[in-house]
């Protein structure tokens, strides 16, 4: 059973930590956005776009969690008998997106919140505000890739 427990722990970390990161990031942007909306309600669409950006880490985490659950048979089909080594490997594979998702979500939130300040003054610069935030997300995407590659590489 140890193998399954470790693998589930990995799934929980991937979903949980990156979810926290996204929640914090989205929250940060929401605070700034609400301030801008109080002055100019017409910017709702633009600010919502920026607020959605730090939300992706949570989705990447969920994605990793789903892949783990699918690989070990929690979803669809019975539980696979995992050795402790296999379980531990899956736990390790979940770490990139868990850790990077948590931190990059927060920092992307900060970049996007500053972007909100940017479009409050110069709405035509939305594209640049988005790019600044997306620069942060690159590392979450890379972490997701690492996690997925490891998961597909582990034989169960």
């Amino acid at each position: 059973m140890t193998g399954i427990v470790l693998a589930l722990f990995g799934a929980a970390l991937a979903v949980g930590l990156s979810g926290i990161g996204s929640a914090m990031g989205v929250g940060l942007v929401g605070q700034s956005a609400a301030g801008v909306i109080s002055e100019d309600p017409d910017k709702f669409g633009q600010t919502l776009l920026l607020q959605a950006l730090p939300g992706t880490q949570g989705i990447y985490g969920l994605l990793t969690g789903f892949i783990i659950m699918q690989r070990i048979g929690v979803i669809g089909g019975g539980l696979l008998p995992l050795t402790p080594e296999q379980g531990f490997s899956i736990l390790m594979a979940s770490l990139p997106i868990a850790i990077v998702g948590l931190l990059s979500g927060i920092y992307q939130g900060r970049a996007a919140a500053s972007g909100i300040g940017l479009i409050a003054k110069r709405p035509e610069e939305l594209g640049k505000a988005i790019i600044f935030a997306v620069m942060v997300e690159t590392y979450a995407v890379l972490a997701l890739l690492a996690s997925i590659m490891m998961l597909f590489g582990i034989a169960v």
């Binding site: 939300g55 992706t56 969920l62 979803i75 594209g127 997306v134 890379l142 590659m149």
Partner: protein, 649 residues
Amino acid sequence: MPIVDMKKIFLFSHQQEKDTVINILRDIGVVELVDIKESNEWEEMKSLLVPEWSADAVSFYESLLGEVRYCLDFLQRHFPLQKNFVQQFAGAKINLTPAQYEDYISRKEEIKAVYQSCRKMDEKLTNLRNEETRCHNLLQSLAPWAGFSLPLEKVENTLRIQMQLFTVATDELPSLQKSLTEISPDHYLEVVSSDKELTYFLLISLSEEAGVVREALKESGATEISFPGIAGTAAQAISMLKEKLENIQHERAELLKKVEDLINYRPHLMAYYDFLEDERDKKEAINKLAGTKTSFMLEGWIPLPLLSSLEKVLSEKTETAFLLSRDPKAEEKAPVLLQNGGAADAFEVVTKLYSTPSRREIDPTPLMAPFFFVFFGLCLTDAGYGILLSLLAIIIFRKIKLAGMGKQLIKLLFLGGISSFIMGVLMGGWFGDLVKLKPLWFNPLDDPMRMLIVCFVLGFIQIFFGMGVRAYQDIKAGRILDAVFDQGLWFILLIGLISLAFPQFSAAGKWLAICGAIGLILTQGRSQKNIFRKFFSGLVSLYNITGYLSDVLSYSRLLALGLATGVIASAINTMGGLLAGSIVGVIIMIILLIGGHFFNLIIGTLGAYVHTSRLQYIEFFGKFFEGGGKAFQPFCKTTKYVDIEEREA
């Protein structure tokens, strides 16, 4: 030629025809006005011409605009215009025929009256709100005394006795009662009401003991309460206040009804607002002119293809207007207008969000468009989502009148949907795994490594293409050495390094890479003077290899995002499949599938758009494109609230 050639124009005319000329320019909307005082020739013309001045007229319109804006805000506050989700992004305008528009803007007096009544009603409503707050506060402080039977005005000090109302913290009450019994045995204390925190009581004591009683009260933190100006018992006062509040509600409802009558004027106000803004813009335009007593001169930019039509209109509609034009001088920063034919038009929005190209560069839009198309599709890789996205784009395009960048964006999403459909068919994604169709090529879920390599290859192609464009620009500008040393040698080195990965080419690759590297070491320091500096700069430049490496690795996001869309879609299907047992389960499953896939489509599209844009901006544009041009902003009629249907020509 995607960047349209510009001509500088100088327009001379008689002062009497100034308004006519301004109106013509505004109606055809193809000329960007230049403030003549900032132009290069101003120094020479200063002695002959006087700048036109219309700041008074501008501020006149500004103040009228302020009034109309106030009315619109006031109406919006009480009877907000609802916008749906798409309108939040695209904005909502009302449609008017030219006749309606003329009619609406002619009613100056009515609009003045509307403004006056808005002001009046706003004031009344504010007063009512203040009164209401006061009543509410009073009600709240009276509520604990509701059970007190003595009329409140009777609670007063006489010669012999002190009679007062107090509140005290409920915890403190026993100790207060104890100390009062000690110092003033004859006091009378009646608790009127009490809750967890505070106790409300009446205290009667002899006047001669007033000092010590006050001390005891102070010690326990009791506060005196008084209700000045209230007659009768608290219960009576409360019912009176409630009545008053009801009256206030009535009054407000009646006022709001009157405000509601004003709503009919909202279209008028909106039209008038746009009219005023238009007038103000025209007056502001006059500020940019210069003239003599009888003539004036106007300076501006016009796209070359439109010059003849302007000449034609001017000669038809005016008697004195005279047009001169010339090519932009080298030191002048002419505005830039992009014009891409066909499908490439939609991708202009991507370029513009980065930067308008400068006049010396080529427009990167058509170069970037095919890459954007393919990458966007790879980020979704789902045929079902592709169809949905294209359909959504068509619906939005039909339903909402969009112009400029909004229109381009919707077209871009439509094309993205098509691309996603193609990729989905190639790689077997139909709403995740909802419809199991065999992929035409291969499924990235089965062989992610192969897909990763495909992404890297695409990345290499785009990066090499970007370097090629840079080399082309250098050669065209006569910097052939730069093209050979900076781009050519990197080509050799990178191709050499890639060939190392294939056993059959590895020997040739090794020598290619070494040649390239040596070439770079020898040439990259060529701007340095000292021979050692030359060598070291060349050596250090090899470090840029990490830049190329990270550029290529960056394309791995295509795999990650494509997998993400597919796997989340499959997860939604799996969750739905778990529910399908009973009839209720099937209903929930359908709701879950529709909601889930729609959510995934929105998130996936957002991700595809921003990440594909990023690949263009950082990895591709970074190789050759600088931007920094000034976008062409013609003097034209812009409206905020109303759309006037085209007049018959």
